[in-house]
Each structure stands twice: as structure tokens, then as C-alpha cells.
């Protein structure tokens, strides 16, 4: 088995090496890939869309159709993970454990017992619960809001600097995952529940697609934001810039929610109890 695999891999490597002399040299300005479509994008992005970052304008405007289905792929992957792993438990369980936070006393409540009301004083825990590390908890509490703010900045400033919906969404999701790692899944569910995460990921794709259909309603092609000018105000060039921003918000929402829901399902193996 190993020799066959080695031979296959070596054959693939040999074929790729055989093709290497045909490739352009590294950094060659006359490489064929740089001569056909991309000069148009570079030279016309300012006058077409008023977006200096060419990557953003190509991503969300010139090739917006492509990006819409990339977002749908991410949404579908989130749903697939949910369907593979999620296990629903019956509501009634024999015993529940609650911890009184100020004193650290653990209450064991048998079936039919009175459950404490949801408040800051009591938190529900599992049998393998371990105390959180104070330093990790405090550091995470300091970092999370700034990480979220930075994510929003990355989404909003993607027109002028590296960034955009994908990066900002992933950073926002990573901030929530950091919260979930340093605290536990139950406290994260209070901030962003599973249902909200799935709804947000669907809403992100919906924002993207409905922007496209709105352009069709206004008389243009699918995702031709220039026709949104009467709605957004300003000339068609600025309308394309604003249209890119709307679409980036949709992408950011979808990516953030999918990252968080992937983490929810993987970290608790679908039971949604304790997490890492």
C-alpha cells in the first residue's frame, strides 16, 4: 500500500515538475494571468465603484455572483455539520446541578424539585465541571469586546484597506469562540443562542440574494448595484460602493454565524451542554 502511494505521489510530483518550465517566472509582470482580465479591474475600479481596494470591488461587485454562492456553500456546510452531529435530549432529566456563584455551593436538584430562577446567582453546571481559571477569564473578558469592535471595523473599512465581510465575520466569530472557550457553552448560549446563530446565517445569505433581486426590480441585472442609486441616494458610482457594503454585511453575518455554530456543534459533539 505504502509503495503504491509513494509511486503515485512521485508520479504526480514528476508530472508537476515536468510542467514547471512552462510556468511564468516568479513575479513576472508579463505573466499570462496578469494580462487579460485583471488590468480592466485595476484600471476601472475607481471610476466604476469608487472602491480603492481592488480585491473588495472584484469580490463583491464584478464577481458578486460567484461570492453569493460561496456564501451559500458556507451556509450549507454549517447546516450539514448541524444535521450530522446535533442530538436533542428529552427535557426532563433526573438530576440537575446548580452552583450558587457567590458562595460556591453546589445544589443537586432531583427530579421534580424546584429549579432556581435564571439569574446571575445560580448557574447550571455539569458533573465534570471544573472552576474557571481566573486569569484566562479576565483576559478573555478584556479582549472579547475589542476583538468584536475590530471585526466591525474590518467589515466597514474593507473598501479602503485589507478586509471585508469574510475576514470581519471570521474575527467576530473567533471573538465569540474565545468567549465560549474561556467561559462555557451555556453562558455563550445566553449571548447568542443556537437558533439565533442559524437564523443569522440564513439572514446573511438572504441579504445578499435580496440585494441582487432588488437590483432586478429597479431595472438592472442581478447584483448590478448601480441601479440602486434612487434608493440609496447619490450617483450610480456611489450606489455601487454602498451596494458592496450591504453585501459585505450579509457575508459577515453569514460567516460569523456559521463559525459559531460549527464550534457549538463540534465542541460539545452535538449535545450543547458544556463545550471545551
Amino acid at each position: 500500500m505504502k509503495t503504491i502511494a509513494l509511486l503515485t505521489v512521485l508520479a504526480i510530483g514528476a508530472f508537476l515538475l515536468y510542467g514547471t518550465p512552462e510556468f511564468p517566472a516568479w513575479g513576472d509582470p508579463q505573466a499570462p494571468a496578469a494580462l487579460h482580465v485583471s488590468p480592466y479591474y485595476i484600471e476601472h475600479t475607481i471610476e466604476d465603484t469608487a472602491v480603492p481596494n481592488v480585491v473588495t470591488s472584484v469580490l463583491a461587485d464584478y464577481r458578486g455572483y460567484d461570492t453569493m454562492f460561496e456564501t451559500s456553500v458556507i451556509f450549507a456546510a454549517g447546516l450539514a455539520c448541524l444535521m450530522l452531529l446535533r442530538r436533542y435530549q428529552p427535557k426532563t432529566q433526573e438530576t440537575r446541578l446548580y452552583r450558587h456563584v457567590p458562595t460556591g455551593i453546589t445544589l443537586r436538584i432531583a427530579q421534580g424539585g424546584k429549579i432556581p430562577e435564571a439569574s446571575d446567582e445560580f448557574e447550571r453546571i455539569d458533573s465534570q465541571w471544573v472552576p474557571y481559571d481566573l486569569i484566562v477569564k479576565l483576559t478573555a473578558r478584556l479582549i472579547v469586546p475589542f476583538a468584536q469592535l475590530f471585526a466591525l471595523y474590518v467589515i466597514a473599512h474593507g473598501h479602503h484597506s485589507p478586509g471585508g465581510g469574510f475576514q470581519g465575520g471570521v474575527i467576530y466569530g473567533a471573538a465569540l469562540i474565545l468567549y465560549a472557550v474561556s467561559f462555557d457553552l451555556r453562558s455563550t448560549f445566553r449571548r447568542l443562542s443556537e437558533r439565533t446563530a442559524i437564523l443569522l446565517s440564513a439572514a446573511g445569505v438572504l441579504i445578499y440574494a435580496s440585494t441582487g433581486f432588488l437590483c432586478m426590480l429597479m431595472g438592472g441585472n442581478f447584483l448590478d448595484y448601480g441601479y440602486l442609486a434612487p434608493l440609496l441616494g447619490g450617483d450610480p458610482v456611489m450606489a455601487r460602493s454602498h451596494g458592496i457594503f450591504i453585501v459585505e454585511i450579509g457575508v459577515g453575518m453569514a460567516v460569523m454565524a456559521v463559525m459559531v455554530s460549527l464550534y457549538y456543534n463540534l465542541a460539545s459533539a452535538g449535545r450543547h451542554d458544556e463545550g471545551l
Binding site: 502511494a5 482580465v37 485583471s38 485595476i42 475600479t45 460567484d66 454549517g78 479602503h160
Partner: protein, 131 residues
């Protein structure tokens, strides 16, 4: 020999790409552990992304963010001054899709572990035969 050295100096990024493709593909075939296979799959993916990005690179060129002053929309922009942005766009979405597929792959691995209690391919096969 001199030819080969010149070839290496101008195209070493393709050599790295070829090495990574071979590593990733070999791991996907030979490794028995499912998580190791997923790591191999990701190395293969990033190798392909490296290939695309290195096609787009340009010597002595600027980042693909157009330098422009306020109110000077008419000044000329030369495509040769900026790195080719098209591979970046395609690969940016590919990276985010790769993390989504990674999530699905790990979900499948966890499901298999729940069913058979192991991540090793040969042990899973044994358990299927004995069941």
C-alpha cells in the same frame, strides 16, 4: 546544471507548491488516522492556494489597493504597477470555504468515533467486519 539552478531561482515557489502537494496527497493516502488525513487534506488545499497566489505575484509592484487622492478620479492607473488581484479574490473565498469543509470533515470524524470508538482506519474496518 546551471540551467537547473537558474530554474530554481526564478521558480522556487512552484517547487514549494509541488513539495506541499506531494506531502498532502501522500498523507491523505497513507495515514490511517482520520484527523491526520484531514490535516493532509488541508495541506493540499493550502498548496493549491499558494500556487494561485504565486501566479498573481508581480515584482516591484504595489499592493492591489489603488493610491488616489480626493477628487482626482481621472488620473491614470497603470495595471503593471499593481499586483494581480484576481487570484487573491478567488483564493480568499476558497480559504473560508475550506474552513467550512474542515468543519464538516471533523463532524464526520466525530460521528465515526461515536459509532466505532476509534479514529484508526484499520480498527474501524475490523469492527465493521466483526459486527
Amino acid at each position: 546544471m546551471e540551467d537547473l539552478a537558474a530554474n530554481f531561482l526564478t521558480k522556487y515557489n512552484y517547487w514549494a507548491f509541488i513539495a506541499l502537494v506531494m506531502i498532502g496527497f501522500y498523507a491523505m493516502i497513507v495515514k490511517r488516522n482520520l484527523v491526520k488525513k484531514i490535516v493532509g487534506m488541508n495541506i493540499l488545499q493550502t498548496a493549491v492556494i499558494l500556487f494561485y497566489v504565486s501566479i498573481g505575484a508581480k515584482r516591484d509592484a504595489d499592493l492591489p489597493i489603488i493610491a488616489h487622492g480626493h477628487g482626482s478620479a481621472s488620473h491614470a492607473v497603470h495595471a503593471a504597477d499593481y499586483i494581480n488581484p484576481l487570484p487573491h479574490v478567488l483564493m480568499l473565498t476558497a480559504i473560508v470555504v475550506s474552513v467550512a469543509t474542515l468543519g464538516v470533515a471533523i463532524a464526520l470524524a466525530i460521528k465515526i468515533y461515536r459509532q466505532y470508538g476509534t479514529l484508526e482506519e484499520d480498527e474501524i474496518g475490523e469492527r465493521i467486519r466483526n459486527a
